[in-house]
């Protein structure tokens, strides 16, 4: 017989070590920061993907909080049911309900369920760990894969510079539903991450948080560079960190001292290696233009 019991949280971490995430995994670090920022009074629904696979391999689990995994596309709908159940059973104050997963589970296959749950106004915190591709299945392109990234289904080749489209603006789309809070943060800015997690948790209704989480395996950077890569994404202007409250942008993380050229970010990653071959200069310019447009639009830097 298997014993079911509660172990003492290790080092007060609600996301226990011993899981099977890769060295340098940005997602596992972010998941731990999120849980520790929220405390033990949460119920978590997790979509299929890396996070679920590396943290819940029976009979072990990293989750020191009530946690459920159902399917890939339904975390938001499962969380809707959890939230409704807590309400009707008079247990509303017991826990913050979280629906979480990767970019594929929320921006693509679970997009309908996310949209439905946000539109219905459930009191749920949605957390998307954005590692910019389907990493669990071997680095396939998702709707949040950035422009020109080489993935296994959008590979660079003689006739291609990789992914032909830019990222879907998921946080803005969620905000457009009327969600009171939608924000973007990064595992490279963990104070910002903690602050936004706690702020989101304090708001009643649907709230959304997208966290940029580098994937050394999928992006092809050294496992020691996860935080550096995450910070460069922000400092180049390619990954703006912002908050939207009731549809309006209310804060951005400013770039200091000044924006870095996108090459500094791109050159650390194998997924952009093809952009540094002769003849690809035009592509680098296109990516710099994306960064410049972000800087202008979000007022990330006023030099």
């Amino acid at each position: 017989m298997f014993q079911i019991g509660i172990s003492q949280p290790y080092n007060n971490n609600l996301f226990a070590p011993g899981h099977t995430a890769c060295a340098g995994c940005g997602q596992s670090l972010a998941a731990r920061l999120v849980l520790n920022a929220l405390g033990p009074n949460v119920i978590v629904a997790t979509a299929t993907g890396c996070l679920e696979v590396f943290s819940s391999n029976f009979p072990q689990s990293s989750w020191e909080v009530p946690w459920i995994h159902s399917l890939f596309e339904n975390a938001s709908a499962v969380a809707s049911g959890i939230e409704a159940a807590l309400k009707v059973l008079g247990r509303e104050d017991e826990a913050i309900v979280i629906a979480q997963g990767g970019d594929g589970g929320f921006a693509d296959i679970g997009f309908g369920a996310l949209s439905g749950a946000v539109e219905r106004g459930h009191n749920i915190l949605f957390i998307v760990y954005d590692n910019e591709a389907y990493m669990n299945t071997g680095v396939q392109r998702s709707g949040l894969t950035p422009f020109d990234a080489s993935t296994t289904t959008s590979p660079a080749g003689k006739c291609s510079y990789g992914n032909p489209t830019d990222k879907k603006p998921l946080a803005q789309i969620v905000a457009a539903h009327g969600a009171p809070y939608a924000a973007v943060t990064s595992v490279g800015y963990y104070r910002d991450l903690e602050k936004k997690v706690q702020k989101a948790a304090s708001i009643k209704g649907p709230k959304f948080l997208q966290i940029h989480v580098p994937c050394p395996l999928g992006w092809g950077h050294d496992t020691s560079l996860t935080i550096k890569v995450a910070r460069l994404a922000v400092q180049t202007g390619l990954y703006p960190l912002f908050e939207m409250e009731n549809g309006e942008i209310t804060s951005v993380v400013k770039i200091v001292p000044k924006p870095r050229p996108v090459e500094e970010y791109l050159k650390l990653q194998r997924r952009f290696r093809h952009l540094f071959r002769p003849g690809a200069e035009g592509e680098l310019k296109k990516i710099q233009d994306i960064a410049n447009e972000n800087i202008r639009k979000f007022k990330l830097y006023e030099g």
Partner: protein, 395 residues
């Protein structure tokens, strides 16, 4: 003042909604699809009128309907949903998951055919797709049975020996939109029969647990085996619950099978759902003319009552399976299962299987008599009856 049991004339969908209301579900999530709509419209009105204290989640798809009741059930709530046809097919992925997680949700399927070609009319091709999901599957012949079945379904699902979701099939339009007199139990009666749901494991911060883990090969088979065992346990529990229901409500309305004049019958018709009522009438007529004809109704399709079916049919000379489904490229699903049940048994009656009533086509007295005549002449296997040759292209 205690309410009194009363007989009322209700539409089938309303009868089901009343039964569900009496079971006090905590969470309902559904997406509209014909002919399931009247069930969830009635329940929505009950919530709106304060007659039912439940959270009613108007989800954006059937996939999310199933997922929401899954989440609610995992949190310790009694949860209910309903669908049909394409919506049911969209749910299928979640249904496997729900059974694997051992969550006692109750699901009504207002049975309807499947596209293409598009049809909104009745057959049972939809819910039979769930054959291997792990769901307990019951089929109603009439509205009273549908009503009673829903009350029993929660009890079967929530029995710890079972801990499985239960699906109730009722013929779309034929039952869901027909008005019939039904005995409507009182709230006190149902409360005495069905206690509130007390899950052993559920999502709570008081005792955190991990549900829906990933498994490696050394654990997966055992989990699936236990699911199979739970199905086998359900066979016993369904019978117990039917007896308990009779004690409380005074009518026997349950069990795995139901027979009509089958004990001494030479010929036995076998079917599922409302078609059984027609077969009963025709069998009666034939018996009056001196032919020993009986009927076997398969109420419980999962767990499949193999032993009981063999027992009920083995004294007959001829078995005629009439079913509103076909496993394309094989035979009718019910005929297939009955043939399999007889393997290794003796004596084995002759058996013919006919596919009838697809996409809402009426199964008339003539259809049934044709089947009888054909089956007497020779053995039939997945013979489609009432085909219009003018519409067929020979390739």
């Amino acid at each position: 003042m205690a309410q009194e049991t009363k007989t009322v004339v209700l539409e089938g969908s309303r009868a089901v909604a009343e039964a569900v209301r009496l079971c006090r579900p905590d969470v309902i999530a559904a997406y509209p699809i014909t002919p399931q709509t009247h069930i969830v419209e009635n329940l929505s009105q009950m919530v709106a009128d304060g007659l039912l204290k439940a959270e009613n989640i108007r989800v954006e798809s059937e996939h999310s309907a199933a997922s929401a009741v899954l989440g609610a059930s995992a949190t310790g709530a009694r949860a209910y949903t309903a669908t049909t046809s394409q919506g049911f097919l969209l749910m299928i992925e979640v249904l496997y998951n729900m059974a694997g997680l051992r969550l006692p949700v109750v699901l009504t399927v207002a049975n309807r055919g499947i596209s293409a070609p598009l049809t909104i009319h009745n057959d049972i091709q939809d819910s039979l797709v769930a054959r291997d999901t792990g769901f307990v599957q019951l089929y109603a012949e009439d509205n009273q049975e549908a009503l009673d079945m829903h009350i029993q379904a929660f009890k079967i699902a929530e029995d710890y020996r079972v801990s499985l979701p239960v699906l109730i099939g009722m013929d779309g339009f034929i039952l869901t939109h027909s008005f019939e007199p039904v005995v409507l139990p009182t709230q006190d009666e149902v409360d005495a029969f069905l206690p509130s749901y007390k899950p052993i494991f559920y999502l709570t911060t008081k005792a955190p647990l991990t549900m829906g883990t990933k498994t490696d090969p050394e654990f997966y088979t055992e989990a699936r085996y236990m699911l199979h065992k739970a199905q086998q346990n359900a066979k016993r529990v369904i019978v117990e619950v039917a007896r308990d229901f009779k004690d409380k409500f005074g009518r026997f309305s349950g069990d795995l099978l139901e027979t009509y004049n089958a004990e001494d019958a030479d010929i036995i018709f076998v079917s599922i759902g409302s078609l059984v009522s027609s077969l009963r009438a025709i069998a009666k007529e034939l018996r009056e003319k001196g032919e020993k004809v009986g009927v076997l109704k398969v109420r419980t399709f999962r767990p499949f009552p193999q032993k009981e079916i063999v027992e009920a049919l083995s004294r007959a000379k001829l078995v005629i399976v009439m079913e509103k489904d076909a496993s394309l490229g094989s035979t009718g699903v019910l005929a297939q299962e009955i043939r399999a049940a007889f393997y290794g048994n003796s004596p084995v009656p002759r058996l013919s299987g006919f596919v009838v009533g697809l996409g809402g086509r009426d199964v008339t007295r003539e259809t049934v008599l044709k089947a009888l005549q054909l089956a007497k002449e020779s053995d039939h296997d997945c013979t489609f009856l009432d085909l219009n040759p003018e519409l067929l292209e020979e390739v």
